[in-house]
Amino acid sequence: MAKDPVCGMDVKEGEAAGTSIYRGKTYYFCAPGCKKKFDEHPEVYIKSDESEIEEDEEGESSAEESSEAETQKFQEQRLERIDLPIVGMSCASCASTIQRGLSGLKGVSKANVNFATSKATVLFEPQLVKPEDFISSVKKSGYEVGTASLEIPIQGMECASCVQAIEKALQRTNGVVRASVNLATGKAKVVYLPSETSFAELKKSIESTGYKVLEVSSKEEVEDVERIIREKEYKKLKIKFLVGAVLGLIIFLGSTRQWFPWVPALLSDYFVLWAIATPVQFWIGWQFYRGAWGSFKHRNADMNTLIAVGTSAAYLYSVAATLVPSFFEKGGIRPEVYFDTSALIIVLILLGKLLEARAKGQTSEAIKKLMGLQAKTARVIRNGKEQDIPVEEVLVGDFVLVRPGEKIPVDGVVEEGKSAVDESMITGESIPVKKEPGDEVIGVTINKTGSFKFKATKVGKDTALAQIIKLVQDAQGSKAPIQRLADVISGYFVPIVISIALATFVIWFNFGPSPVLTFALLNFVAVMIVACPCALGLATPTAVMVGTGKGAEKGILIKGGESLEMAHKLNTIVFDKTGTLTKGEPEVTDIITANSSSEEEVLKFTASAEKASEHPLGEAIIKRANERRLVLDEPKDFKAIEGQGIEATVDGKSVLVGNLKLMNERKIDVGDLKRQAEELAGEGKTPIYVSLNGKISGLIAVADTLKENSIQAVKRLKNLGLKVVMLTGDNQKTAEAIARKAGIDRVLSEVLPEDKVHEIKRLQSKGMKVAMVGDGINDAPALAQADVGIAIGSGTDVAMEASDITLIKGDLNGVVSAIGLSKKTIRVIKQNLFWAFFYNTLGIPIAAGVLYPVFGVLLNPIFASAAMAFSSVSVVSNSLRLRRAKL
């Protein structure tokens, strides 16, 4: 094994990409690029090689000679120090766990974990242990190290050896945890500690190896490059089309001089026509030849094949008729030319392609818009200082500042400050949402009114936006079952069309009217040109792309073509109750007073007493008191009475809050309130008695209430002809009370969470196509069992595995919109497929001339090309209609 002197890679002598002899020694190279570099300046590589060895030897000998103190100093110099940001530490004992783990690693001389700064400082010998080991050690202790990752595009990498050189350089850089370079994509992927290094330093170390770093291109910028190429291409096509249109018109006029006598006779000369038609055929139509040849080599056939063969047939026939008319005359045929046919076909199809390219670009607009939303920088607080950093370097746990009008860079939870946030780009909700400490904020949404500070909880590929983009991309890549037939057909389409065209030629030649050759040729060309495989291939994917993109804009994420197709067949919608139909958290619904106490008094004393309790019903009462801006007192002598209620002293009064049992035990006469309490219970509410100083003073009812739009959504679903069912673990009475309010007449109550799946199965066994709507947390199995699982999301949790459709916003009207969208999309797909099949099955036989014997109708190849161009454009345009669909 030899070593490549340029990059240092091991090369087998027999497999070397090149060799060079320098100063009598043979050197082997892994790639021609390395050999070229070596041959230009061999002294650079050989010299540096030798001097390196010398240096090493010097280092060793000096170490031997030095005194002990110096050795220690030397060793200390060899120690490296690294600061690791730790995520997820909640107590000081976590710090010691991590510290123990780190100190136990071989090669670690000292480890110190500081709970307050959330940092681990490690002194280590880089020869024995690597930063990567620290990270796995921290992970083993149950915590995470805050790392960031970056993809850096590198220019000029030619061989595998470059990869190694760059990887080594990066790994030597302080703060880099992992670096891997991919030759194929031309990118280095670096996992690093943002507290230790920065993009600028990474760039420096890559460039030290002699390669150039392209400006960090986010996805967006790659898209931009693509867009520029596309636009250039589009412009070129446009110029070609315009030139072709002028030339085509001249040829057309020259070929039909009998209709336009004012056209100069020169133009109808065959040689002149030939001269004008040739650039159209081979310059403007070159892309068809290139495409046809490319796929022919791969034993594929596509639209280009049909156009290239079809137009060439017309063109070559005309050339023959121009050059050797005598040959045709001998056979009793008038030598005619069809330069107008070949040229106009090319021009018309080019026009079709232009329109199609423009329309196709629009089908993926929704996802491009989503990708473009990403914020570029974030203002974080590190070491007590505000600093602007690239969004890729934001870590989980970072505190991020957002001012009015700014984009929120990543997902997180508000810590300080209040504001309203425009979340329309993610949820489709147009009204800004109020944010207070404790509320979730979603990355890329826009802060409207106030400044606030939030703690980052999800960054990079975990953010809601990244998840949404991934979901939509997956959906757009998936196939709808409805497409299967079209897929099978398009695989065989072109060769079969060529076969039909050949058969057409033979039949017209043998049995057709005279001149047989003319008819045979024109009909052959017409069949080739009229066939439109594109319409078939574009029918479903374009509609799925536009449909899922439209959904994403409205906060409806559809998993794929299959879900889309299933959703339009649904006839039953099952709603989970808690958290889906209802808000999922109890709220005060009624306050009834007795013994001349006021509502405010009852609420104030109860809420004050409940301040010491942690019961969810108590929280609901405190919330209502806060809403009414009541000033609460601190409770004294608080006591919780298991299963009955609480008691406390507030502002000198003894307060008793609880159920009837508690009141009875304390011998408190509840009087008429008992009847009212029973009534409230009948409505599915929980009544709570309140007594002050031993006298009953009121009743507070608490219940989980319906979401504002549940009633409307249920009504709209019923109007669509769907059966609506409610599924809940509540007792029948409560369940029915809620269902009545929501307008649902079928209730499945007292269903244990694990039995939800069976209820869905039961409905399905009755032949129903069932959608289950739930929050996706405890009803995941039921969502998966249903024909379509619809998960209602909240905030940043968009990655819901079990569901087919995810609604980002909690609004149930999303269910109606999702079903409406799927119906509309499937309708468009059906229209497209019908059109594509209808068009081809009708167009090909007509072009072949089946109508000729009876009606004398033939399809002129020029009209065939116009029909074909129109056909694929119409399919894409039909799909684009979905963008304007009302949901």
Binding site: E226, W293, D302, M303, S364, F505, P533
Partner: protein, 124 residues
């Protein structure tokens, strides 16, 4: 009469030839190389088709297919692996990687956005 016979026979011959060439002729297949990283990689040139267009990979090992699109013709601007829910744009003159792990043996077709250009992934 003779000309009719010639046309008929050559027409039939062409039909047979076209169908043989596109459907039945044998294709060259390429096996993926397993790299040190534990990923099996193949570089595929995209120009009017896929080269190689029959790729053999092993089951259960992550696959990375590096598509280099060497043209701007828009037929090949998207790569679709329907069975793996992959639909990716292939920017012109760039390498785009498609990664997934095949878990089941079988033959999977990959196509361009419109299903005209095709290749086959054989999982063994």
């Amino acid at each position: 009469m003779l000309s009719r016979l010639i046309v008929t026979l050559s027409g039939m011959l062409l039909v047979v030839l076209v169908n043989w060439y596109f459907f039945f002729s044998k294709r060259r297949s390429t096996s993926a190389q397993i790299r040190q990283t534990g990923i099996q990689e193949v570089k595929i040139m995209v120009k009017g088709g896929y080269d190689p267009d029959v790729i053999v990979v092993k089951k259960g090992i992550p696959v990375r297919l590096n598509f280099y699109r060497d043209e701007t013709a828009d037929c090949s601007d998207t790569i679709v692996f329907g069975d793996f829910n992959v639909r990716k744009p292939l920017p012109a003159f760039q390498t785009t990687s498609v990664e997934f792990t095949p878990e089941k043996e079988g033959e999977y077709v990959f196509t361009c956005g419109m299903g005209m250009l095709r290749g086959k992934l054989i999982v063994r």
